[in-house]
Amino acid sequence: MMDAKLIYANLIMLLKEFHRNKASMFFVLLFPIILMLLFGFIFQDQGEMEYDLLVQDLDGGPNARNLTAMINSTGLFGVTDVDPSEEPGQYLIDHKANAMLIIPEGYSDQFDAIMLSRTTGLPVNETVSVKIVYDPANSAAMTKIGILNSIIDGVNKGASGAPDVLVLEMETTVSDDFEYIDFFAPGIIAMSVMTTALFGTVGMNTELRQKGILRKLATTPLSRSEWLLANILYQLCMAVLSTISILLVGMGLFGLRPHINLFLPLFVLLNVFAFSGIGMLITRFVKDADGAQAAANAVMFPMMFLSGTFFPLETMPDFLKTVANFLPLYYVNEGMRAAMITLDEGTLMTSTVILVVLAIVIFVLGVLLTSWKHD
């Protein structure tokens, strides 16, 4: 039997507790606000959402200009012209872009020839192609290909039925040895290592505080920085375990074949240092278990949405892109991707330097700001 009075009394008690717990309340409220802001900004101008598309017109003829104009007129793409002298793959890397449409030389003439031959009833199974060079790691590139395909469909329908005239050839910026899964693996590793390190640290330390174990540790010669480091190392073990299992599952089930080099463990290590360290700082300042959880959530979600793992940054407002540049996970992602797929040295170096500095700053803060006396 349920007693409504008892339920009510409990409800009131819980609400009171919540209301009296300032930290927990702050983060419990902050969290939905952050989510609301994120989604609000992402979707507020949905009607005008526009992807960037690089177009390299090697033809320059009227049909080529026509195609570009058509792409432009959809309003879905902001077209940027690329000088014919550029090498597409390199250009994409240099400009941190993810897709370039190439209209080959002779496109206009070929197009006209096919159309002519069709009207004269000659054999019609000839086609003309344009090519898209893209970064398969980037989900925005995939969306762009989808939109381009539908534009090209429109061209083909307009060109009086029969077999298609225009074909979109696809070429990735990386060697063809890689499968789609390869491009997701780095992001997934980065994400899961971050989550375990952050929540593992916060969860464990709040539990130990609640049980009074931290107070007992304070009466031993164990120093706070030793404890901090022990926590980080413990989380590193967790991270190694989860990384290995992601790799094994990926390799075993999905044909994952990433490059394996020392940068992979390095980024895992830096990832753990940064986020385990942030977790220690959270438990230092948010004493209450629920509040600390909520604070960890507040750290995690911006990383998840804005570091480009699951949601393309490209369609986001500029200031959110700027925010992304300040998120540690963004650099972990970039670095891991470079380590496992592109082997791009520039990215490896910048990510390494930024993350090393960050890890040191967080560790030093952890050592300076936390003391057993606060527990």
Binding site: K216, A218, T219, T220, P221
Partner: protein, 308 residues
């Protein structure tokens, strides 16, 4: 006279608005069991944790083992052992692993089996901490407090929440520690615990030490009443009390208790009973205890006073 090993002078601790410790001073002598007796919220934990260097005093001086708590934190920690209030440990370590873990923190190499023997945990050494009963958990806590062979052992409410049997077991362990020459700083709100174990008792209430001395000194000074309980007494007992000018209390179970204020009065009561040929079934003569001392000092009872 033994040496002073802890010296507290004018210790004050203020939390926001609340004065938890209100300028207390006391000494603890080497080799003694010192009991800090007080109800919930009296300021016991605050005081011991300041002495243990894990809380910061608002003002006042504390010297322990000849060291200043403000300056020699690490040196002090190496020479004391602490059983915090509501001690708890890692769920999934065995008893032996737990003691081993803590001894590693002190970089010492104590004989762990001997330690476990000392607190009577040998037969439970391979049990997980989470599966132990409350009394065993407390004994693990005491073993952990001994890993560095400390000179002073702080035990903050070591028997709160234990059943009488488990409590007695912990008392035995504490007596053993005393025998081995350690100084013991015990906080408790059980007067019986202080009476059984302590050489020296300080009674703390609302942040002030309201009395300090040995159990018998405290009783003599603050509550010298001797309770003479007479069971199944025939008529005329009231007369005896009245003649001697003493208070008499009638209990429902047919027992009357006369409160004498000294030994002579007890003898007089007994003589009167005999002289008047008053028959009775049983007789019990009991001195006041610390509970009554506390009651007479504060008007509150020790176990229900303060905030429960």
């Amino acid at each position: 006279m033994s040496e002073t090993i802890i010296q507290v002078r004018g210790l004050v601790k203020v939390y926001d608005e609340l004065i938890a410790v209100n300028g207390i001073s006391f000494d603890v002598k080497e080799g003694q069991v010192f009991a800090f007796l007080g109800p919930n919220g009296a300021g016991k934990t605050t005081t011991v944790e300041i002495i243990e260097t894990i809380r910061t005093a608002t003002s006042g001086q504390v010297n322990i083992l000849g060291l200043d708590i403000k300056k020699n934190r690490t040196d002090i920690l190496r020479r004391i052992g602490v059983l915090p209030q509501e001690f708890s440990s890692f769920d999934r370590l065995t008893v032996r692993e737990t003691v081993q873990y803590y001894s590693r923190l002190f970089k010492g190499e104590p004989d762990i089996d001997e330690l476990l023997e000392l607190v009577n945990l040998t037969e439970h050494r391979d049990q997980l901490y989470m599966n132990l009963s409350g009394g065993l958990k407390q004994r693990v806590g005491i073993a952990v407090a001994l890993v560095n062979d400390p000179e002073i052992v702080f035990l903050d409410e070591p028997t709160t929440g234990l059943d009488p049997r488990a409590r007695r077991d912990v008392w035995d362990v504490i007596k053993g520690l005393k025998k081995s020459g350690k100084t013991i700083f015990l906080t408790t709100h059980y007067m019986e615990e202080a009476e059984v174990l302590a050489d020296d008792v300080a009674i703390i209430s609302k942040g002030d030490i309201i009395a300090h001395g040995t159990t018998s000194q405290l009783i003599d000074q603050y509550c010298s009443t001797i309770h003479v309980s007479i069971r199944g007494a025939g008529p005329g007992v009231e007369e005896v009390a009245k003649n001697l000018g003493l208070t008499l209390e009638n209990r429902e179970n047919g027992t009357v208790t006369i409160e004498a204020s000294n030994n002579d009065q007890v003898v007089e009561i007994l003589n009167n009973l005999k002289a008047r040929d008053i028959k009775y079934d049983g007789l019990d003569i009991r001195k006041a205890n610390l509970e009554e001392v506390f009651l007479s000092l504060t008007g509150e009872s020790l176990t229900t006073g303060g905030e429960e």
